[in-house]
Structures are given as C-alpha cells and as structure tokens.
C-alpha cells in the first residue's frame, strides 16, 4: 500500500509564488515592452532604488498607519454593533435595514462624500475607510453573537461572573472565529480602499504614488509600490494574524 508524502504548506506556498513570478517573467518577455509590463527583476530594482531613496518607506508607512487606524476603528465599532444586534432582538430589527443600506453603499460614494463633507483631511480618509468596513464586521459578529451558547450564559449568571470577565472568558473565545474572519477579510478590504482614498485625496501613501505614476505612465513604479505593500500585508498575515489565530485556538489542539 503506497501513501503519498504530503508537502508542507509553507513549501507549497513558496513554490506556488515562484510559479506566479515565472509566469510574470514569461509574459513580460513575450510582451517585450518594459513600459507596458516590466520583468520582476526590473520591478525589484525599482523597489530597491525607492527603498534606498527613502520614498518607499515614507509612503508605505503612511498607508500602513491609515490601514491600522481604519482597521482598529472598524473592528471596534463593528464588534460593538454586531454584539448589540446579535444579543438584542429590538436592536436587530431596527438596525438591520441600516446595515443592509450601508453594506450596499459603494466605497467610492463614501470616500467622495467624506471628502466633500469633512474636507481632504486625514480624518475624512480614515473615516471613509472605516465606514465601508464597519457593516461587514457587524454582520460577522452578529452571527457569532446569535450563536453564543445560552448554557454558558446561565452558568455565568449563576456564578455571578462580572461583566468584564464574562466578556473575556465566556463570549470572546466563542466569537474568536468570527473575529478572526472579520479581521482577515477586513485587512484585505481596508488596504484596497485606503489606496483608493489616497488615490483620490491624499498627498502621500501607496495610493498617491500609484496615482502619480499612473499619470506618468510608469507601470514599473505602479507595480513596485503595489508589490511592496502586498509584501507588507503578507508579513502582517504571517507574523500577526496567523500567530494570534493559533493562540486563540490552542485549546482545541490541546483538547484533540
């Protein structure tokens, strides 16, 4: 009886990325037009040059700060709204139409309106991104809150657990999967919206740089900034999100 040796996930991911780079290389060589599609080496050289120049870190950090601010704001407000709607039938009945309306509000409309109402400021930029993300977080957390185990609630009540302790030790672990899913989906969505926000109304950040090089028709620079920020988001995923998920789910493994 033969048994296939399973390839480790990280190795498969690396090979998969290498194939993507190879494909890019092949298409770039076939296109034979560096102004339209430069090779990965050419883009890497631009990244290196921009990093030496200091511009890369300046714009990456500006975008990253906006992403983090909008993320914290959206997760905080979205969690509170989601928990409230999940636990209160009245809040759910009255809040649901608002949630549906905001879920279907295009990101571009929110961004334009925030800039028009608040002005071309940092507050408007972060608020626009957060407003786009809050409904999604609220929906995910609402589902989690609806599924909270009532028996554990009873137990907490009988043993007079304090509100904070109940939130931390009874509710939060049950909501961890929804929180992680909302966080992961949030990160992926937020940074893309942040680029649009920067594209439309900021004077720094990856989105601003993409706007600049779009006007100059510098595809290499557009790709250099995009790839750099994708790498930053991958690092956040690998070194922050995944370890947190492992930490939150360690009881399941120890239980197994």
């Amino acid at each position: 009886m033969s048994r296939k040796t399973e390839i480790p996930r990280w190795r498969a991911s690396l090979i998969s990325l290498a194939i993507l780079l190879l494909l890019w290389e092949v298409v770039a060589l076939l296109a034979d037009d560096p102004t339209l599609l430069p090779t990965p080496q050419r883009v890497a050289a631009i990244i290196y040059h921009e990093a030496l120049d200091g511009a890369l870190f300046l714009h990456l950090s500006a975008t990253l700060l906006r992403v983090l601010a909008a993320f914290v704001l959206a997760m905080g407000i979205g969690c509170v709204i989601g928990l409230w709607m999940g636990r209160s039938r009245t809040a759910d009945i009255w809040g649901d139409p608002w949630l549906v309306a905001f879920l279907n509000l295009p990101a571009l409309v929110t961004i334009v309106l925030c800039y028009l109402w608040i002005g071309l400021t940092e507050v408007a930029a972060v608020a626009a991104v957060a407003i786009n993300k809050i409904p999604m977080v609220a929906v995910m957390l609402r589902e989690g809150a609806r599924a909270l185990d009532p028996a554990l609630d009873d137990m907490a009540k009988v043993f007079r657990m304090k509100r904070g302790a109940k939130l931390q030790h009874v509710w939060a672990p049950q909501l961890a999967p929804q929180f992680a899913a909302a966080g992961r989906a949030g990160m992926a969505l937020i940074w893309k919206i942040v680029l649009v926000v920067e594209f439309l109304g900021r004077s720094n950040g990856v989105g601003f740089q993409i706007h600049l090089y779009f006007q100059l028709f510098e595809v290499g620079h557009v790709l250099a900034y995009s790839v750099s920020f994708i790498l930053v988001m991958l690092l956040i995923e690998v070194f922050l999100l995944q370890p947190w998920e492992r930490h939150a789910g360690r009881w399941r493994r120890r239980a197994g």
Binding site: A151, D154, K157, V158, F159, M161, P173, W251
Partner: protein, 231 residues
C-alpha cells in the same frame, strides 16, 4: 432574593409560558445542611422550577428566598472548553488559586489543573463541575440531573463523592433527578411533582439519614411510595 437564614424558601403561585401554566402553587423550604430531592415525570417543570430558584427565570408569580451564595451543577457540565480546569474554577467563581486547588483535590482531580475540559472524561468533567460549585463555598446548591448519562459505576462514585462533599457543609441542597437510587442515596426528603400545572403531590421523608440507611431498601421504599402517589 436573599437572606432566608441559611435556607431556601420557595413560594411560587404560578409560572406560565404564554397562555400555558406550567407550574401551579408550589411551596417548600430546604434547610441548611438538608438535601431535598425533587422528582416527577419528564417535562413536568422540574428544571423550570430550578431555573426560577437559580434566578435564571424571573418571569413568575411568587417569591424565592435563598440562603445567599448559590451554586449550581447543570445537566451538562457547562464548562469553559477554552480554559484549563483550574481556570474554570478561578475565572468563573472568582475564588483564588489555593481555594480552587483545594476544590479540585476534594473531587479527586489533583494533577489535572492544567488540563482542558475536552481532555477529561465525562465523569471527570462532572467532577470538575462539582468542584466549581463547592469552590464558591455555597449556602445553597442546585443539582439538575447532575449525574445523568454516566455509566452505573461512575454514577455510583459521583453519588458517594457528592455525599462526602455535602456532609461537612451546611448547604441547603436541591437535587432534581429521575434516578431513585440517586435520590435514595443523597436526599433527606423527596418531593414529587405532577399535574398540569405541576404541583407537589406528596413528600417522602426517609427514616434514617444518608449514612446509616440501606440504599437499596431506601430506593425500594421510595419506588413504592411514588407508585402510590401516582395512582
């Protein structure tokens, strides 16, 4: 409501679910150090009554006075699966680590402090639930079919353990069960609930206390009494 002078006093006039009255007039006391058994047909409202006494259901007519600090052992162990055995005691009850370790030791779970509940057998999980209840040093204790779905040997050990834990404590305990052996082992008195809405149909008082009575004989007497009460 509190301060019943070391006892639980129950005076319920009615409990309804919508239009349907499930509990009629029910009144009884459980004194400190006493174990009152509560039995009756399935679905008659025993667990509803227990939920009212536990303060989990406040939509009823009447009043319940409890002795102060209350603890409950639920039908399911109802533990926090993401916290260790020790944390299940300290975080839930607010007791210190020393008190929690002592409670774990009393139920025979020494050495399992760091184990997560899923690593424990059902019997051990139920012992952990019992440890959580005694960790709060309760004045009144509610046991809602706390030994259900255990095999006979484990259930027997759990009953002995519960008896041993309750003996030195002046706790007013209320035990809901269908198991006559369990009632005969642990109770001083047994109240039989029946009817629609449910009312007390009779109270059986054991002649001897739990330590001296013949458990098999006591269960047999209880069975005969229940048969007479039902008819």
């Amino acid at each position: 409501m509190q301060d019943a002078g070391g006892a639980v006093r129950v005076e319920i006039r009615q409990k309804r679910f919508g239009e349907k009255a499930v509990l009629g007039p029910i009144a009884f006391n459980v004194e400190a150090g006493e174990v009152l058994g509560l039995t009756g047909p399935s679905g008659i409202g025993k667990s509803t009554l227990l939920r009212i006494i536990a303060g989990l259901d406040q939509d009823y007519e009447g009043k319940v006075l409890d002795a102060g600090r209350l603890a409950m052992v639920f039908q399911e162990p109802t533990l926090l699966p993401w916290r260790s055995a020790l944390q299940n005691l300290t975080l839930t009850t607010g007791c210190g680590a020393e008190r929690a370790l002592q409670a774990l030791d009393e139920v025979g779970l020494s050495g399992e402090e760091e184990s997560f509940p899923h690593r424990l057998s059902l019997g051990q999980q139920r012992r952990l639930a019992l440890a959580r209840a005694i960790a709060v040093t309760p004045d009144s204790l509610l046991l809602d079919e706390a030994f259900v779905s255990l095999d006979d040997a484990t259930a027997l050990r759990m009953r002995s353990l519960t008896l041993r834990l309750l003996e030195p404590r002046q706790v007013a305990s209320l035990l809901v069960s269908h198991d006559l052996s369990e009632l005969a082992t642990l109770s001083d008195r047994v109240v039989y609930l029946d009817g629609k809405p449910a009312e007390i149909k009779g109270t059986f008082v054991f002649d001897e206390d739990q330590r001296t009575r013949d458990q098999t004989e006591a269960a047999k007497e209880l069975r005969h009494w229940m048969a007479r009460t039902q008819s």
